[in-house]
């Protein structure tokens, strides 16, 4: 009996010991120098992007950081949406001590931070620093982070939409491989020629164009019409919370949908909603659109199987000359009620957006340099000469009206799929253009009304 009890006692005691020690144990953090100002930077950069970010941060810590006694800790906080979730948690908890000094987020995360008292608009830093001029930043990227006429975030990873096409497929179809389609009407004609049907006559082995437009495509395809247009009022939410869509009264959505229906009726359009990039790489579609930030990986994956071409996003029609909007992300500064840390955060941001840092970031990741001086660097020119497709992407950016903006609205995730579903239903279910405009607008308006009711 006694033996039995002892047999249990030792493991239980051991277990209790382990439990108590481990429960209160914390990870060992690196030793810190007391005199230095340490700041924290949250970002969603993983893989190659993460490596580039680490390199930039190390560069800063060893040069300017060494000189000015600043240490930046860059911390990967999951995907862009996860960074936003983490920020939202700290902001809602009203716990600035849980916030980082800097955080990199994308358009969906902007909704969470733009009205917060803990966020310090970048404009404040710009105005207080005589050494820094907004002139050196790409104008579209500045406007992309402007809310109610105040620049709130520092553009960092900027990209636009781009048309990718298979030059070999163009040649085979008798099309000029150096001349991508310029309008949606041309896209329809090209897609028809590029479509290849299997010998059985049923399945399609190569689509002319694949993809279903979502918010991402529409900010440009709506934005480029009538000079400059917007999806919603308040300039796509950049002047305050949007209350309703304006693409119905402007007629811009109907114009686009009619042009898109024409592409579908050519027979060469594949309504694929996922893995379109893989389909392109595998040669199953001759054209598609995706962010310029995918260019490097696409070139890499295609290898020498075929020649990749890049072109401007085809215009909705001849009159739609506005171009494309700038997407991507920006870096925000949060208030730690500490002047030294605030200054350190700004110092680091200036380094990240410097001409040299932006060159490194561009070469490693394919994002645009947001600093205009980068474009003048010899190394940059050599890089675009060696990679002409990057040049196409950059020309398109500079030819675009900087006032075309991404949309900041609630339920952006649902809206993305609502738009795709409405387009598919229109094309495959035979719903009329007017009806599609009406039902989609009603649905999206409801999201905005509900959000505004809950956030007066």
């Amino acid at each position: 009996m006694l033996k039995r009890r002892i047999r249990y006692r030792v493991p239980i005691m051991l277990l209790l010991l382990i439990v108590t020690v481990a429960l209160f144990g914390r990870g060992v953090s690196e030793s810190q120098n007391q005199q230095k100002t340490e700041i924290e930077f949250w970002h969603p950069n993983s893989g190659l992007l993460g490596e580039a970010m680490t390199e930039l941060t190390e560069q800063f810590n060893q040069t300017i950081g060494e000189e000015k006694q600043i240490v930046v800790r860059e911390i990967y906080q999951g995907k862009a949406t996860d960074v936003a979730t983490k920020l939202r948690a700290s902001l809602q908890a009203q716990r600035p001590q849980d916030l980082p000094d800097l955080a990199q987020i994308d358009a969906t995360g902007v909704m969470d931070v733009r009205e917060s008292d803990y966020m310090i608009p970048i404009q404040n830093f710009v105005e207080a620093d005589p050494d820094f001029s907004l002139e050196q930043l790409q104008p579209g990227t500045v406007l992309s982070m402007t809310y109610k006429d105040v620049m709130i975030g520092m553009p960092f990873n900027a990209s636009t939409i781009l048309l990718y096409y298979n030059k070999d497929a163009f040649s085979k179809a008798g099309l000029d491989p150096e001349r991508p389609p310029e309008t949606l009407a041309e896209l329809a004609a090209y897609a028809k020629k590029l479509k290849i049907t299997a010998p059985d006559g049923k399945s399609i082995t190569q689509y002319g164009f694949a993809g279903v437009p979502s918010t991402y495509e529409l900010v440009s395809w709506i934005g480029q019409q009538q000079g400059v247009s917007y999806i919603t009022d308040k300039r796509n939410g950049h002047d305050g919370n949007p209350t309703q869509v304006v693409w119905d009264t402007d007629g811009t959505l109907a114009t686009f949908l009619d042009a898109w229906r024409n592409v579908y009726e050519s027979g060469g359009l594949g309504n694929l909603t996922s893995d379109v990039r893989q389909q392109f790489i595998a040669g199953k579609t001759a054209m598609f659109v995706i962010s310029t930030s995918s260019l490097a990986t696409i070139l890499d994956s295609v290898g020498d199987r075929f020649t990749v071409g890049a072109g401007y996003l085809p215009k909705v029609d001849e009159t739609a000359t506005g171009g494309v909007n700038i997407g991507g992300g920006a870096i925000f500064i949060f208030d730690q009620k500490n002047d030294a840390r605030r200054a350190a955060a700004w110092e680091f941001l200036k380094f990240l957006t410097s001409a040299e840092s932006q060159l490194l970031w561009h070469q490693r990741t394919g994002y645009f340099p947001v600093n205009m001086d980068t474009y003048e660097l010899d190394e940059f020119k050599q890089h675009t000469d060696a990679n002409p497709l990057f040049g196409v992407a950059i020309d398109q950016l500079h030819d675009s009206d900087p006032r075309i903006q991404s949309v900041w609205w609630p339920n952006s995730y649902q809206a993305y799929y609502d738009i795709q579903n409405a387009v598919i239903e229109m094309l495959e279910g035979g719903v009329s253009t007017d009806q599609t405009v009406q039902s989609l607008s009603e649905r999206l308006n409801r999201y905005m009304q509900e959000y505004n009711r809950m956030n007066p």
Partner: protein
């Protein structure tokens, strides 16, 4: 006579094989894909076998992120989380199954009620609590939300209820205390259920992503699932290291399931028996 039985047997075998293949295929492919070269990932039709076995992706997975440290964190959080969760769940289930006390039904239904709440809805609220307790960046902070498992309490109660109450009465009459009754009678009889629930709980905690990410800022405190996402990014087609990491992650669970599959099957059946 013989033929119908044999037929039935064959149909069972075929159905089981098909279902087994459906389950095993993604795991097989993730493992095989971890040896693919970059070009093989985007080849069409997809490959079922790599042209050569090289461990470059594994090396990259282990060097690009501190994966081993992350796996240790995951192991600690899942292991300890499961142990504490089971201790609490066994005690709770034991008391509801064998004792009657005031408010027992209300307490039990309150507990079950928490099963109705989607955990995502509580994220911010839980974060607030953990943060105010100063447990951000601690193992306890990560584990805190897993310590009380209503599912485990419920399943154990069902299993304990299948033990006749007279055993408890007889044991008490013979001078056996409640703890001894629990350790010498109840737990040995419910071994399969306890084991299955422990394993299940271990793997659910092992697989969580967002919560451990939310309550940790220190890269040293990250778990394995976060480590996997560090290896790829949205625009990346460089899947090799990701699949290598996934293969490493699945590795510990395979021998456990192979060794214990009979007990696990028993446990699942036992939990369903009593209403």
């Amino acid at each position: 006579m013989m033929t119908t039985r044999r037929m039935q047997h064959m149909i069972n075998a075929i159905v089981a094989t098909v279902l087994g293949l459906i389950v095993i295929f993604p795991i097989y492919w993730a493992f095989i894909a971890s040896f693919f070269s970059s070009a093989e990932f985007s080849s069409w039709p997809p490959r079922l076998f790599p042209s050569s076995f090289s461990f470059t992706h594994y090396v990259r997975a282990l060097t690009q992120s501190p994966l081993l440290k992350f796996m240790f964190n995951s192991l600690l959080v899942s292991g300890l989380g499961t142990i504490v969760r089971m201790i609490i769940a066994i005690s709770a289930a034991f008391s509801v199954a064998f004792f009657s006390f005031r408010g027992k039904r209300i307490l039990f239904f309150l507990l079950l009620g928490t099963m109705m709440l989607p955990p995502d809805a509580l994220f911010i609220e839980n974060y607030l609590t953990v943060s105010r307790l100063g447990l951000v960046d601690s193992y306890l902070g990560i584990m805190s939300v897993y310590l009380l498992g209503p599912v485990q309490v419920f399943m154990l109660r069902q299993s304990f209820k299948s033990i006749p109450k007279t055993y408890h009465e007889i044991a008490t009459m013979d001078g056996c205390g409640d703890f001894r009754f629990l350790f010498s009678v109840v737990l040995p009889l419910s071994r399969s259920v306890v084991l299955t629930l422990s394993l299940h709980s271990f793997f659910t905690i092992w697989n969580t992503y967002l919560w451990p990410l939310l309550v940790t800022n220190d890269p040293n405190m990250r778990t394995a699932q976060v480590g996997i996402t560090m290896l790829g990014y949205a625009d990346s087609l460089d899947y090799g290291p990701v699949f290598a990491a996934i293969s490493l992650m699945v590795l510990p669970s395979v021998p456990i399931f192979v060794l214990m599959r009979n007990r696990i099957a028993e446990g699942i059946k036992a939990g369903m028996a009593v209403g």
